[in-house]
């Protein structure tokens, strides 16, 4: 049987269908009582780990787990929009460098009351550096899921081919030795001694090892111009510009120490254990050693990431579920999944055994964090770290290119850094007043 549809009826039906779709679109969202959480994820392998986390959450909490996975690049912007619009999950992942930024703006809530009221939760099972990284203004704002010091990767095959003795697995080599070795191993343009990113994130490890810092103890001013930091900056820039032991910089945006190292013709790469999972694809033998020791020893940057609860989560059932979810996501069981997948060193001592070789010397990561080998320095950041990083990202790369001498670049950048430090202190004052 065929039914004729008049033009008017057709238009009415189309309108109704459109309205229905719009209503369905507006009402879509996770069902009430779901464990919603946000995380960055830039590869299929990473996605798999977070899906396993999600399954673990469902198994433990007996509620639906709804992770929102976003590539790491746009993650902060998306998170901002979700936080502002009140659509963020109950728990959100935060890179350690941004925890003070979010905490100072009141975007996330302190967790101290929840920690104190929960006898099952043992904060002491987390490495000290990740506790520091996850705190702001004397309060704990997040619970870590990974933490690791920067280490030095080396191409074992290349050193052996050159007849050079392999470096000590536990004793950090002095800077001078490292430089000699890098020079000896450089045969440009076929082979280079060292690679790192021409950015503050990598430079800061050398600065800490020399006893310097980006900011003063009270974060009231920049101390990049002081002798310790200047010595470190000059040392690294010289490796690029004077000694030319690094592959030539082709582009400041896509420059990647990892891809340089994976080429197989670079002896040493500065990077974190979070790259172990990628370096495992290398077609040569490699390992890791402690970061070279400067005047203050081997105290490279220690960084990590954490989970936090947005301030918008309502007290009561939502907050209860958020805390349970956060505890589950940072539990030994969940971090075992993370570490077994080789993503990075877990933030808990009790999950440490899951982060297994290769490389052979992977154990030094936990030994460094535990203070048994060499040392580390939690990444000191401000509440406006994006701006600090942006400013340094504009001016420092030119020193790596030999376009501007280090003293000139630092003299140019210091007054603007001092302004940012003052803004940072203002942010802390405002955050304290808001909390009070």
């Amino acid at each position: 049987m065929s039914t004729k549809l008049s033009r008017r009826s057709f238009l009415e039906l189309t309108g109704l269908a459109g309205l229905g779709l719009a209503v369905a679109g507006c009402s879509s969202g996770p069902p009430a009582g779901s464990a919603t959480w946000a995380m960055w994820s830039s590869s299929a392998a990473e996605r798999k780990v977070w899906q396993d986390f999600s399954a673990y959450v469902e198994q433990q909490l007996k509620v639906k787990s709804v992770p929102t996975l976003t590539p790491s690049g746009p993650y902060p912007t998306k998170l901002d929009l979700q936080l502002v619009s009140g659509t963020a999950g109950l728990v959100t992942a935060l890179n350690g460098t941004l925890i003070p930024t979010y905490a100072a703006r009141g975007a996330h809530r302190p967790l101290d009351d929840l920690i104190e009221g929960d006898s099952d939760f043992d904060l002491d099972d987390f490495y000290q550096p990740i506790q520091k990284i996850s705190s702001f203004n004397g309060k704990t704002y997040a619970i870590g899921f990974d933490v690791a010091p920067t280490v030095m990767y080396y191409n074992k095959s290349l050193l052996q081919k050159q007849g050079i003795a392999l470096p000590s697995r536990t004793e950090p080599m002095p800077w001078a030795t490292f430089r000699e070795l890098a020079v000896e191993l450089t045969h440009a343009p076929d082979q280079y001694g060292f690679t790192c990113a021409p950015a503050i994130d990598d430079l800061v490890s050398w600065i800490y090892c020399a006893g310097g810092n980006v900011m003063s103890e009270d974060a009231s001013r920049s101390i990049l111009g002081e002798p310790e930091a200047m010595e470190a900056l000059q040392f690294v820039i010289d490796l690029f510009v004077k000694d030319k032991v690094t592959p030539p910089i082709k582009n400041l945006v896509t420059e990647s120490s990892l891809s340089n190292f994976l080429e197989g013709n670079v002896a040493f790469m500065q990077n974190g254990p979070w790259q172990v999972v990628n370096v495992r694809k290398a077609k040569f033998d490699w390992d890791i050693i402690p970061f070279p020791a400067g005047a203050a020893g081997s105290t490279p940057r220690v960084s990590g990431s954490s989970f936090a609860i947005p301030s918008g989560v309502r007290e009561g059932a939502d907050l209860d579920l958020a805390w349970k979810l956060l505890k589950t996501l940072t539990s030994t069981g969940a971090l075992d999944i993370y570490a077994k997948a080789g993503r990075n060193n877990p933030a808990r001592f009790s999950a440490g055994s899951a982060f297994q070789p290769p490389p052979d010397n992977l154990g030094i990561v936990q030994d460094i964090l535990a203070g048994k080998v060499a040392g580390g320095h939690p990444f000191d950041v401000t509440t406006n770290w994006n701006q600090v990083k942006q400013l340094l990202g504009q001016d420092l790369p030119r020193t790596f290119l030999g376009q501007v001498p280090v003293p000139e670049a630092i003299a140019g950048v210091t007054p603007r850094l001092d302004v940012l430090m003052r803004q940072h202190l203002d942010n802390i004052r405002q955050a304290t007043a808001r909390r009070g």
Binding site: P76, R105, P189, K250, N251, S311, N386
Partner: protein
């Protein structure tokens, strides 16, 4: 013979009003209502997505707002911050440099190619499609390809220059060459649009005008200057206005190819606005910058429309 009758219906507004009834307002005419109905979707879109944000930016520019804490009144403080901010002026200068070099270059290339394609070439559609391809490709993909083309030692650009004995610079990391590199890529990316508009304009020029010019004994250059250019001026005007507006908003290629560096040599105003608003969480200051950019674009476009009366010839 004077026409005394018409077959067209007399417009409602043309009917003499009776002394007792008021004339129907124009907006209540059936024709006007139909026109408004057709305009409505576009008008709603304009109000929500263009006029609304402009008004919102005006309000936000008077506030201190980090997105999360409640906004506080700042008055004109955000505008006062523009003066001593070296990055803002550098970004504005870079944007002006980009615009005033890339727009004339793009127009020259587009016009030259349109003239070439208008010579009655065989398979013109194939050439037209090929030349339009860069414009149809997304900027992100093109930018990544050009990063590889610009690699100092192994890149295609320097390899070609090397054939002529020229030692090419390290394009994207050089103080002096980073911006020209972006401009070159942008010209390549966008000439296709102007070319198609010019080609349509050229094909609409009546051939009698050229024949008349030939009879008058004009040279090809005189013919181009006195026939082609005046007849093409509406298309030229359209391409100039849209290209300048687009160039003032340059963002993606600079972000991907140089991230604004080295230093701030390729930091454009829109890039700086984005960073201020969404990386530094300073919404009020970002809104103030965007209003300044808006004012610049309005000013330049208004100036162009002012000169249009003298320089653009419409064949009506």
């Amino acid at each position: 013979m004077a026409l005394t009758t018409t077959t067209e219906p007399v417009p409602a507004t043309a009917v003499s009003p009776s002394p007792t009834s008021k004339p129907t307002p124009r907006w209540r005419n059936r024709e006007s209502l139909t026109a408004w109905l057709f305009l409505l979707p576009s008008l709603i879109g304009f109000l929500i997505f263009t006029a609304g944000p402009v008004v919102a930016a005006g309000v936000i520019s008077l506030l201190d707002w980090n997105l999360f804490s409640p906004p506080t009144w700042a008055g004109l403080r955000n505008f006062a911050r523009l003066g001593p901010d070296p990055t803002f002026w550098s970004a504005l200068g870079n944007t002006a440099y980009f615009t005033f070099v890339s727009v004339p270059l793009t127009i020259l290339v587009s016009l030259a190619l349109a003239l070439l394609l208008n010579q009655g070439l065989r398979r013109i559609a194939v050439f037209r499609s090929l030349l339009l391809l860069p414009y149809a490709t997304i900027t992100v993909a093109v930018a990544f390809v050009w990063i590889w083309l610009y690699i100092p030692h192994d890149g295609l650009v320097n390899a070609v220059l090397g054939l002529f004995g020229i030692h090419g610079p390290a394009w994207l990391i050089s103080d002096n060459w980073a911006m020209p590199a972006l401009i070159l890529m942008s010209v390549w990316k966008s000439f296709g649009f102007g070319m198609v508009v010019f080609l349509a304009g050229l094909q609409a020029i009546p051939q009698q005008l050229y024949e008349a010019a030939r009879v008058d004994g004009t040279s090809p250059w005189q013919s181009f200057r006195n026939v082609t250019l005046p007849m093409l001026s509406p298309a030229l005007f359209f391409v100039i206005v849209t290209s300048i507006i687009g160039s003032f908003q340059v963002f993606d290629q600079a972000l991907i190819m140089t991230n604004g560096g080295p230093g701030t040599r390729t930091t454009t105003l829109v890039m700086y606005i984005y960073r201020t608003g969404f990386e530094n969480y300073d919404q009020g200051y970002a809104a103030a910058q965007s209003l300044v950019l808006f004012a610049f674009i309005v000013l330049i476009t208004a100036t162009q429309f002012f000169f249009q009366k003298r320089l653009v010839h419409y064949d009506n």
